[in-house]
């Protein structure tokens, strides 16, 4: 019989000898679900959009300084690197917009908290659809110049 003799003290003390201590002082990452990750993404995209708007206000304000300076700066935006940056920018804004609607519904719609998880996947779905519509056309424009 393969009876396990776990209860005896001699046997159970055995593992203590082989006990290893791994030094990893930090705790594990909290494994939140859709709600937490949607919040993390909302924060990251929000901060990214804020910095974009800051730069955008500054470069647009350049037109008051001199139209030549404005044209020079806008000219650098026509590069493929900036074109890819625009994909990221639109991706961030589209997620932030759709997830913003989700958050408004959670706060103001009485059933919002019940359907928050489903709404997160709707947000992801709408984001994918929007990006499928935008990215190919945008990249054709960027790389055909």
């Amino acid at each position: 019989m393969s009876v396990k003799t776990v209860g005896t003290p001699e046997q159970s003390r055995e593992p203590e000898l082989s006990t290893t201590t791994s030094r990893r002082p930090a705790g594990t990452l909290y494994r939140g679900r859709e709600g937490m990750w949607s919040w993390v993404l909302h924060r990251i995209t929000g901060v990214a959009i804020f910095f974009f708007l800051l730069v955008h206000v500054l470069d647009t304000a350049l037109v008051r300084v001199s139209p030549e300076a404005y044209n020079a700066v806008i000219g650098t935006y026509q590069t493929p690197v900036m074109g890819l940056g625009e994909v990221a920018l639109v991706g961030a804004i589209v997620f932030h917009a759709f997830n913003g609607i989700r958050i408004i519904l959670i706060d103001f719609w009485s059933k919002g908290t019940v359907y928050q998880r489903a709404m997160f996947y709707v947000v992801i779905g709408l984001w994918v659809i929007t990006m499928i519509g935008f990215v190919p056309r945008h990249l054709i424009n960027v790389f055909s110049h």
Binding site: P25, I106, G112
Partner: protein, 253 residues
Amino acid sequence: MSTATLDAAPSDADAIESFTVTLIIRRFDPDVDDEPRWQDFDVEMFATDRILDALHKIKWEQDGSLTFRRSCAHGICGSDAMRINGRNRLACKTLIKDLDISKPIYVEAIKGLPLEKDLIVDMEPFFASYREVQPFLQARTMPGAGKERVQSVVDRARFDDTTKCILCAACTSSCPVFWTDGQYFGPAAIVNAHRFIFDSRDDEAKVRLDILGGKDGVWRCRTTFNCTEACPRGIQVTQAIAEVKSALMRGTA
């Protein structure tokens, strides 16, 4: 014939499969350690055992210095909330069979409250927030002599969900806002305020709404739903917070 079946019975009991489960526990002894450290333990467990049983086995058979809280061990006292595989759970309600034991199980103290030793945190900030929302009945009218305060079934059902709280702090210590800003009242305090704000017998909803409408109150909630997911009693915590928010916006409970 009959003896054969009697003989078969104990061997069936022996045949219950047991597994070697590896627990990696985040230890911290304030007298010795500067930083918490991870320590591995191998324990022999049945599928129907709980994480609390594993902790007991370690404490009783392998390392008596392992420190954790537990009282009733049946999911009602709220003593043994801890982070199991990265999620806040009660050790006494987490079965081995519900975890992936092909990988080690990580057990650590709940987050956001000061770590005292091993799996024990200082719960005082948590209970201070709880006390601040005045979690007790405050009625200005007296019931008739020898009578109770009458409440309809519908009125009772209004706050039924939030009466289930056992103050284990699983929700509050799962909240990213609470981790970074310990001033936030946290889900548990709001749940217990909700329980009295929406109680038809209570007359001080306004006071509690004023407290929760402040800068460390419900508006700190970012609806991550970690609290709802962590609650061992299945309380719809985020829903309760949302109801307090909307009561604040409408100005009435």
